[in-house]
């Protein structure tokens, strides 16, 4: 089995310092929609300057490099235990190189480990064995500001008039966007999961954040709802940084899973505009990061 530690360090460096092209494009489009001289436009100008500078200087886009969340899909023959060790070693090295801020804090003692290595849950690693011979590792760096405004609803919800259907889901998502205001570093991206239990629903909502902003949902009902919610969330007028303005979200990505008859969860994971996600693909001896 290959030692991929170097490549994991590179995956972290790229993710922390170089924003994906689709996110940059969405931010540029958002800039065009804001009135000249407005605080919203000023915020987006600073954001785009910062994105460019971070890439040139190989410096973190945001100081909150967040929880490193890895989704590993490995073919038969790879050891998930060895991959876990290599990823953890890479996280510690990337922290030393200041691509990551030391973020792992012991919840009882309050002590920061200084290395980004905590217990089993930090960094956050998800493994799945897959068919074929390609290994893919997706990394999401998700900061605390946006993590804190994530929300889970249990439908029906009387306050929102939300029933157990797509219209109810719509109400819950719009409420979450309103509650978040600018706190999640708007304009953000929403990952929405319908169904599951509380735990799987959160996990799946985060996986939605790995999708490109310009893709289309394969489920036509969800594709329509994604478009509608993006447009409606932007009508709220929260705007970049909560300064007011035309763009509150850059996109909405939805999925559903089976649920218990008694439960109907709608989970919204909010990703800040610094939507830091990259993928490492390993085929034979070739490794690529996109």
């Amino acid at each position: 089995m290959q030692d991929l530690t170097e490549h994991f360090v590179e995956l972290i460096r790229r993710t922390s310092t170089d924003l994906p092209d689709d996110v940059r494009r969405a931010l540029s489009k958002a800039l065009d929609r804001e009135a000249s001289g407005s605080a919203a436009r000023g915020a987006l100008e600073s954001i785009l300057q910062n994105v460019e500078l971070a890439r040139q200087k190989i410096s973190p886009i945001c100081q909150d490099t967040g929880t490193p969340i890895f989704f590993v899909r490995y073919p038969a023959g790879w050891s998930s235990r060895a991959l876990r060790e290599q990823i953890r070693a890479a996280v510690a090295r990337a922290t030393e190189s200041a691509y990551l801020r030391p973020n792992a804090v012991d919840s009882l003692s309050g002590k920061n480990s200084g290395t980004n290595l905590g217990d089993e849950a930090f960094p956050s690693l998800h493994f799945e064995e897959v068919e074929g011979d390609t290994l893919t590792v997706d990394l999401l760096l998700k900061g605390g500001g946006c993590e804190n405004v994530g929300a889970q609803y249990s439908l029906p919800d009387d306050r929102l008039g939300a029933d157990r259907d797509l219209q109810g889901v719509r109400r819950a998502v719009l409420d979450a966007v309103h509650q978040a205001q600018g706190l999640g570093c708007a304009p953000g991206v929403l990952g929405v999961s319908i169904g599951g239990d509380r735990g799987t629903s959160y996990a799946l909502s985060k996986q939605q954040l790995l999708r490109r902003l310009d893709d289309t949902n394969l489920n036509p009902d969800l594709a329509r709802m994604e478009a509608q919610l993006t447009q409606e969330a932007n009508r709220l007028g929260v705007g970049p940084m909560g300064f007011g303005g035309a763009t509150t979200v850059l996109g909405v990505k939805m999925t559903s899973q089976h649920r218990l008859p008694a439960s109907y969860f709608v989970t919204v994971s909010y990703m800040c505009w610094a939507d830091r996600r990259r993928r490492l693909t390993v085929r034979g001896d070739t490794q690529t990061i996109e």
Binding site: Q49, I61, G145, L160, G182, C185, M241
Partner: protein, 206 residues
């Protein structure tokens, strides 16, 4: 753009209004969750006795914070081994977590500006009116751009809180921010919350 120099005078603060863009220069201090809790517990509400280097840290803060700014920020810092500290990335963190403490801290130390993101609540707004002070909104996530305005790291207090939570004493030049809570009782955050609530009600009624 309004140029502001620390220490900030009462007149300079009273002249600021919602929506003003400012460029801030001088010496300020980063402080977030652990630092605010330490200040409150040890020196303001005095629920725990000082220990270790608490007294020296407090004396340093009394001098540094008068008329200055507290920046809600947990930076990425290079040079931790050599102590030749350089700020690599230093955007604001969410301020509302300090709402239970901020007003008291501002009054106790004579702080005239709080910098962060997302805005704060009624108690901080009241303190801004009284002292007087302002809340300055920095651009969340614009961390490398903001780090460029940090000209030097003059020191660090309570590094044992961890790099993000320590109090970093920094000299900044032309640090960009927007006034979103002023000393006249106005808050952009309250206005936007209200307006967006109106839009949400319209969408949900349809």
């Amino acid at each position: 753009m309004i140029a502001l120099h620390m220490p900030l005078s009462e007149e300079a603060i009273r002249a600021l209004h919602l929506g003003d863009s400012v460029l801030l220069s001088g010496v300020m201090i980063t402080a977030r969750d652990a630092a605010h809790k330490w200040m409150i517990d040890t020196y303001i509400r005095r629920t725990r006795p000082p220990s270790g280097d608490d007294e020296q840290t407090y004396a340093a803060l009394r001098d540094l914070l008068r008329g200055a700014a507290i920046y809600h920020c947990g930076p990425v810092v290079a040079g931790l081994q050599t102590k030749q500290y350089v700020f690599k990335a230093a955007g604001p963190t969410t301020s509302i977590r300090e709402e239970p403490y901020q007003g008291e801290v501002m009054r106790h130390f004579g702080v005239r500006a709080v910098i962060g993101k997302g805005g704060m609540g009624a108690r901080t707004l009241a303190a801004c009116r009284e002292i007087p002070g302002v809340y300055l909104h920095a651009i969340g996530g614009a961390a490398t751009l903001i780090a460029e305005t940090v000209k030097s790291v003059q020191g660090v207090l309570k590094l044992e809180f961890g790099v993000p939570e320590a109090m970093w004493v920094i000299e900044v030049a032309d640090f960009p921010a927007v006034v979103t809570m002023d000393s006249h009782g106005q808050s952009l955050h309250t206005e936007i919350e209200k307006a967006s609530r109106g839009e949400l009600d319209k969408l949900l009624a349809a």
